[in-house]
Amino acid sequence: MSEVIKKFLYVNRKAPYGTIYAQEALEVVLIGAAFDQDVSLAFLDDGVFQLTRGQDTKETGLKNFSPTFRALGDYEVTRLYVEQESLDERGLTLDDLQDIQYEDEDDDYAEKPSIIVVSRARMGEVMADQDVILSF
């Protein structure tokens, strides 16, 4: 168990399925979650496409890893920063994204949204507030 808790940000800037980056990022997040660090995820540029609802990969033979995002709360990964400008540029709104929630153990396990929509300027501040940034 580490004594020092560091702030880790996993930055996702690629669409799912076209490359392996998105799926690998999720694997690393799940592995990293075992180390009791302060973990959050950022989705910007084409990375916002990873969170869309209704992904169905059956006909492609690829693994649909999008449901895994809804399990992150169980690993105490409860902050998914999504960039507003990146959504806007792609004609997406919050309604196009999966409903991702976590149970807040400090609030009688109330279900709360994990997705936090932020401006590009705010995303820059979130990045500047980290100890470690891992990019995918």
Partner: protein, 102 residues
């Protein structure tokens, strides 16, 4: 509290450099490496965009990667400083965090 940003993609291939410059904070350093060095050239379609968006950050380019691609130092855009590998390591060691834009 400064960040060293590295960019390894050509700005003619995708939006990575633009996204980096759109998120970097004033006083951060942006180092162009590998195919990213094409973003440090003057006199092309991206030069003005890079100069404008990069006005508040320190711009660097890895000299070895420019030389490897036959980009003469005379074609380096104003505002950029060329560094060698040792300089790259010094920058990584002296900043608070490194963010690699892939």
């Amino acid at each position: 509290m400064a960040t060293l940003h590295t960019v390894n993609k050509s700005p003619f291939q995708n939006q990575t450099l633009i996204s980096c410059l759109g998120h970097a904070k004033a006083g951060d350093s942006v180092l162009l490496i590998e195919d990213g060095v094409y973003g440090a050239m003057s006199g092309n379609a991206m030069s003005e965009v890079v100069a404008g968006m990069g006005a508040n950050v320190k711009l660097f380019v890895l000299g070895a990667d420019m030389k490897a691609r036959g980009i003469d130092a005379a074609r380096m855009a104003g505002g950029f400083t060329s560094v060698d590998y040792e300089g790259f390591v010094d920058m990584a060691a002296s900043c608070d965090r490194v963010q690699n834009w892939l």
